[in-house]
Amino acid sequence: MVSSDAKQRMIRRVAREIEAGMTVNLGIGLPTRVIDHVDRDLSVCLHSENGIAGVGPSVTYEQADRNLIDAGGSYVSIQPGTAFFDSAVSFAMVRAGRLDLTILGAFEVAMNGDLANWMIPGLFTPGVGGAMELAQKARRVVIMMTHLDKQGHSKIVRECRLPITASACVNRIYTDLAVIDVDAQGLMLREIAQGISLDEVLAATEAPLQVADNELPTF
C-alpha cells in the first residue's frame, strides 16, 4: 500500500512537468489530480478528449452543468477562453501534435518505453478510450503510477506482458519511489522519493536501471 503522503509527493512532483502555455491532457484517475498543484498563472490549456480545450477546476454537484463533464465523467467548469468542439476535432488536435504533454496512468511500462494501460486480458476490458492516441501522439508522454502492483510486482518491466497501448512512447515515469527517464540507452534514474534508498528502488524495479548521478535529488 502506498501512503497517501507518498502519493501527494508524487502528484506535487508531477505538477512541475507543466509549463506556461502548454496544452495538456490528463488521464483519468491520479493524473487528473495534478492540476490542483499547478500554478494558475501559468495559463495551461487543459484538453479533454470529449471536446474541450480549457477545462477549468472540478465543481460540486450543486454547481455542475449537466452538459459539462471531462473525459473521466467529472463535472468541471470552464475558463475564460474555453472552446468546445466535436470528437473528430478533439483527436485531430492530438494526432496532429498540438498536445505538448499527456500524463497517463499505467499497468506496465517497459524499459524501451512501451506502455500497457488499457487491457488486462480476462480480468478487465473496459475499452481503450483515447489512450492509444494520447500515448502515440502527444509530444511528451509522462506516466504516473505506483511503482509496484497490488501483488508487489514491479510495474517497470523488461518487456510488457500485458497487451500494449503504444510502443516506445513513454518519455518519463513518475512513481511513489522514483523519477525515471526513458532514454535511448534505457531507463535512467533521475530522482528518488524522500526516505527511500537507492537499493530499495533498484530492488523494486524489474527492468535494469541506470543511475544518473551519485547524489540523486529527492522529491
Partner: protein
C-alpha cells in the same frame, strides 16, 4: 417550408430489426435518452449500435441491452456499464473496440463520403490484428474503414424546423459526426426556434444533414447531473 418535425413515435417507427444505429453522446451530455427510450418501447431487435460508450447501468443504451435488443456494440469503451462488460465477457454481446479518435474519424469518413483512411494509431497493438496494412512512402500504416449506419439518433440543445442543430458545451462530441454519416438522421431537441432564430455562423449541424426532428416536451431525469 419543408418541416422535418414529427412526433417521437413516428420518428422511431422507421427503425426495424437488424438496423445499424449511431447514437450521439459521451456519457450523459449529448445522449438522446428520449429517442433511446422510445426505441426500447418499440422494441426492434438484433441492433448494431455505434456509440462512444454504453452509458451507465440503467440508462440509455443499457436499457436496450436489458431488453435483449442489441447484437453488437461498436464503441471506444464500456467502462461505466458493468452490465455491458458482463454480457461481453459471457459472449452474449459482440463488442468491437475502437480507439476513440479512430471511432470518431471512421464515422466522419463515412459522413464525408470517403472509403477509408490511413493511420498509424494502434499499429503495434492487438487492435490492429485484422486491419489491412499498407506501406506508403516508407511508413507502415493501417487502413481504417468508414462506419456507415442506417440511422443516427442525435441530441441537440437548439434546433429550427429546417433541421439546423446546435449542441451545448461538451454535448457536441460525436453528434455532428454521426449526423453526417447515417442514411436517415433523427434528432431530438430541447429547444425549437423559428428559422432564422439560430446564428448562421454558430450552427453545428447544417439542416441538409438532418431528416427528422423531434421537439422534446421536457427532459427526463437521465439528462440530469449524476451523483455517484
Amino acid at each position: 417550408m419543408t418541416d422535418k418535425i414529427v412526433d417521437i413515435e413516428a420518428a422511431i417507427a422507421v427503425i426495424g430489426d437488424g438496423a445499424t444505429i449511431m447514437i450521439g453522446g459521451f456519457g450523459v451530455p449529448g445522449t438522446p435518452f428520449c429517442l433511446l427510450d422510445e426505441l426500447v418501447r418499440q422494441g426492434p431487435k438484433g441492433l448494431t449500435l455505434i456509440k462512444n460508450d454504453a452509458n451507465e447501468n440503467g440508462m440509455g443504451v443499457d436499457r436496450l441491452l436489458l431488453g435483449n435488443q442489441v447484437k453488437k456494440l461498436i464503441v471506444s469503451h464500456i467502462g461505466l456499464n458493468s452490465n455491458a462488460i458482463k454480457l461481453m465477457n459471457e459472449g452474449r454481446l459482440e463488442v468491437e473496440l475502437c480507439p476513440q479518435g479512430i471511432l470518431a474519424e471512421r464515422i466522419r469518413n463515412a459522413g464525408a463520403g470517403l472509403f477509408g483512411f490511413l493511420t498509424d494509431i494502434g499499429i503495434d497493438t492487438t487492435l490492429a490484428q485484422d486491419k489491412p496494412r499498407f506501406e506508403i512512402d516508407g511508413r507502415k500504416l493501417l487502413l481504417e474503414k468508414p462506419l456507415r449506419a442506417d440511422f443516427a439518433l442525435i441530441h441537440a440543445a437548439h434546433a429550427d424546423p429546417l433541421g439546423n442543430l446546435l449542441y451545448a458545451a461538451a454535448a457536441q462530441n460525436f453528434n455532428p459526426l454521426m449526423a453526417m454519416a447515417a442514411k436517415h438522421v433523427i434528432a431530438e431537441t430541447e429547444n425549437l426556434t423559428a428559422p432564422g432564430g439560430l446564428s448562421p455562423e454558430a450552427i453545428h449541424t447544417p439542416a441538409p444533414f438532418v431528416d427528422r426532428l423531434v421537439e422534446l416536451p421536457g427532459l427526463t431525469e437521465d439528462y440530469g447531473v449524476i451523483r455517484r
